[in-house]
Amino acid sequence: MPFIELDTVEKIFTVRRKTGLIRREKREVRAVDGISFGVDRGEMVGYIGPNGAGKSTTIKMLTGILTPTGGRLRVAGIDPARERTRLAQRIGVVFGQRTTLWWDLPLKDSYRLMHRMYRIPDARYRENLDRCVDLLDLEELLDVPVRQLSLGQRMRGDIAAALLHDPDVLYLDEPTIGLDVVSKARVREFLRDLNTTHGTTVLLTTHDLTDIEQLCSRVMVIDHGRLMYDGELAGLHAVGESERLLVVDLERELPPITDVPGARFVRSEGPRQWLAFPATASAAPLVAAVAARHPLLDLSVREPDIEAVIAKMYGGTREERRESLM
């Protein structure tokens, strides 16, 4: 039996909208419209979709904050809506844009509160804290008030706080948003390690496709409250025909590069040129081909934007939404 299990789960909100001075109109919004999936223990799954697609509504139902309108939902055998506090002991949650740490107090004080609030046995708390401090490099930061931490440091601190009670499931909402490259890499490395050595099940929502690429073997795409795709990331690229970008810095301004097979010229700006190639293809032969034929200074590969992939995948749907919002 899967560890996280959703069976035609629905969440319908009734929105009251003013249409006149007094008149109100009731409208049903199907935020989650019959979603079914299962996640096995120890899986690391990306849960992606455009804003307003139903991602956070799903997470809120999985944590027991929201009661589903219909369908069946189980996490670790627990019905989240019924036993919210019991489930809280089994799950950890990290919001990229909202810290749960105590702003004015040293980092370690927040951990001490978690220790007591989750009633973590002393030995286990020590062990978990030591491990997190070690792996997330928090030693120097424990005595620093949270308000003085950088965004990346705070995110690491937040992740540690969510793991002290040994949760079986970790929900991460945009864990790398706003972080610099080094911090991003560090967070990802930690999560990968957590998943492999600890077997923690991870559900990750993100706008950064690199997060998914580097962490998740499986990705689920949700749009309009429905599950549109469930499978490997590579498959998503194939379906969405998404492209990656090769940014090439040449020695000088040159005519557009059109002689490299498999690459399509997009635009240029002085000596810099942008080339698109299928996301499923490897960048290596392409780089070699460009380097062989042109005076190359520097280059980088840009991952396709997740919104762009999904937009491409479902063509008109996003436009429709935009119109319906107007």
Binding site: T63, I65, Q89, L105
Partner: protein, 267 residues
């Protein structure tokens, strides 16, 4: 209940430590909080500088009313005052973080932003109460003596229940927080004065509809040997614990309904 108290202690402790990181500001807030309530009483002193009695009540009698409601309200405000700021938590979604923790929500929200400076109000209420007791010329009986602490405790519970009730409505209407102030701060102001000066409809409302009269009016009038207002029997002076219990039950039901609504609408 034990779980709630434990949670409350933990979270309040964190906030006290947070405040202590800004020591200068903290000292200033404790001082001003005391002064705010002190000036509140100065108004009554100024009034009595101009008149000998208010609604047939002497200064000492008004001071007794003031001290009782002031102390009760102070205790409720100290422990539950943060509830009125819950609307912000609902609006910006940070209430969700509380709901994800294995601890009772009410305790977490009530202890949120716990401010020790609000103790200034309790201290001021107690001082006025003691002053009133020194000035008053009352034939004290054991029953009347016991009635005093009971009144303070029950009054605090009634105010606290009103605050919880008010916070419950925030699950539906986050912008209506100010209405609660009418009953808490407004109630406290009302109860500082003798019931004789108010319109009878208002007094009846405070006795039978929103039973704030049980915070101090009914017990205090009994202690002062005056008739109970709005046709209440004299024995009503001892009904505060019962009224407090009913208020708690109503507030508890409203709170549950509020959470249920929040969890189904998520707004």
């Amino acid at each position: 209940m034990a779980d709630s108290l434990r949670t409350y202690r933990m979270v309040a402790g964190m906030w006290i430590r947070s405040t202590m990181t800004y020591r200068a500001s903290f000292a200033l807030t404790v001082f001003t909080s005391f002064c705010v309530t002190f000036f509140d009483f100065v108004v009554i002193l100024l009034m009595f500088g101009q008149v000998r009695g208010l609604g047939g009540f002497s200064f000492a009698e008004v001071a007794l009313l003031y001290g009782l409601t002031g102390t009760s309200f102070g205790i409720a405000d100290l422990t539950m005052g943060s509830l009125q700021r819950m609307g912000k938590r609902v609006r910006d979604g940070s209430l969700d973080t509380f709901l994800m923790r294995p601890a009772p929500l009410l305790a977490q929200v009530a202890a949120d932003k716990f401010a020790l400076r609000r103790f200034g109000r309790v201290a001021q209420g107690l001082m006025v109460l003691v002053w009133a007791l020194v000035l008053l010329d009352v034939a004290w009986t054991p029953v009347k003596v016991l009635l005093l602490p009971m009144t303070v405790v029950c009054g605090a519970v009634i105010f606290a229940a009103v605050m919880v009730l008010g916070a419950s409505t925030l699950f539906w209407m986050q912008d209506a927080a100010e209405v609660t102030n009418s009953f808490t701060y407004g109630g406290n102001t009302l109860l500082q004065y003798p019931p004789t000066i108010f319109a009878q409809e208002l007094v009846r409302g405070v006795v039978y509809v929103v039973p704030l009269a049980f915070v101090n009016w009914l017990p205090a009038l009994h202690i002062l040997g005056r008739p109970a207002p709005a046709g209440m029997p004299d024995a009503a002076a001892f009904a505060s614990p019962l009224v407090a219990a009913v208020c708690c039950a109503v507030a508890g039901l409203a709170w549950r309904a509020g959470i249920r609504s929040y969890r189904s609408t998520g707004s």
